[in-house]
């Protein structure tokens, strides 16, 4: 194990990596990085560890876990409807916009139906996960129509470089 003590003031390197340092600190760090190989090594180490953890995939619970969780809640959650409730939303459309979940279908069908039957849903923004790979490709296509086609299309022929 590397027993050398962390250089004093090196904590800012992680903040620098995460975009969590002030502009003044960033300037100082970059200056010091330019002249100190030790600091550069330490930055590389911190970055390597950070990237390694960030590359870890999402972890799924065993399939029966969520079935158990929902089954443990026999009484469906009744959503409180505010006095000035908006018009009910098209539930089928709302359901269709959500990504399906396998365990929901398997275990929670009855509970979900009960919830929907009981409440009037107020239209609310759902959450969105942008398909960044598809967007990058779409940008390549569109910009190739406006500017030089070769430089715009070339990235479509390589792996986009997004990691899960």
């Amino acid at each position: 194990m590397n027993r050398e003590p962390t250089m004093p003031g090196a904590d800012v390197l992680s903040a620098y990596l995460d975009g969590e340092c002030t502009d003044a600190e960033r300037v100082l760090v970059e200056e010091q990085l330019a002249s100190s190989e030790e600091l550069r090594d330490e930055l590389a180490e911190a970055r390597a560890a950070r990237d390694a953890v960030r590359a870890l995939p999402l972890r799924d619970a065993p399939p029966e876990f969520w079935a158990r969780m929902l089954a443990a809640d026999p009484e469906p959650e009744a959503v409180l409807v505010p006095a000035a409730a908006a018009a009910p939303v098209d539930l089928a459309e709302r359901r269709a916009r959500r990504s399906p979940s396998r365990w929901l279908a398997a275990a929670a069908g009855a509970a979900a139906a009960a919830v929907i039957a009981v409440v009037v849903l107020v239209p609310q923004p759902q959450s969105a996960t942008p398909p960044v790979g598809a967007f990058t490709a779409a940008h390549a296509v569109r910009s190739s129509l406006q500017d030089d086609a070769v430089s715009s299309l070339a990235p479509l022929a390589v792996s986009a470089g997004f990691r899960r």
Partner: protein, 167 residues
């Protein structure tokens, strides 16, 4: 969802994977992670009444972390399971050659699990739960400067473990 406040069912469905991932990276194994998430979901259900719409993931990550830390403290009180709270503590002894995993993801997970909690929690909150330093500081009840230094030391420790093939 009403006024930006999700239902318990919505949390479980939309954020379940996120919660389980954070719990797994904190706890290091599936059994403990499942216990963590189960307890966290109870707290989520109770807390939804008071939930102020904002960063849902931040709120959930904080709950999972609190459950985790409560469990760590509870285990420490049992003398047989006490873990020395020494930041300089060396990691587990190197496994034999046949035990070394070739899967990179396993290595990192093992290294993460071997980190003392003091460092593992900020690393998981930052690099798994994507929380900002301020959010981590609020979750742990420490100043941002402490988050910075623990995060940096945690990363350095991880790196040494990975380069030495201890994991």
């Amino acid at each position: 969802m009403t006024d930006g406040v999700p239902t318990w069912e919505e949390v479980a469905r939309d954020k379940g994977r996120f919660m389980y991932t954070v719990a797994y990276r904190l706890a290091g194994n599936d059994e403990d992670a499942q216990d963590l998430v189960q307890e966290a979901l109870i707290r989520v259900k109770r807390g939804l009444e008071r939930y102020e719409p904002g960063s849902l993931e931040g709120w959930l990550a904080r709950i999972v972390t609190n459950v985790f830390l409560d469990e760590v403290r509870r285990r420490r009180r049992r003398p047989t399971d006490a873990l020395p709270d020494d930041p300089e503590r060396v990691l587990p002894p190197s496994p034999g050659a046949d035990e070394v995993s070739t899967q990179l993801s396993d290595d990192i997970q093992t290294a993460l699990a071997a980190l003392p909690e003091e460092f593992r929690v900020p690393v998981v909150l930052c690099d798994v739960a994507d929380q900002s330093y301020e959010q981590i500081a609020a979750a742990l009840g420490v100043p941002v400067g402490t988050v910075r230094s623990r995060l940096h030391r945690g990363r350095r420790l991880l790196r040494s473990m990975l380069s030495e093939g201890v994991a």
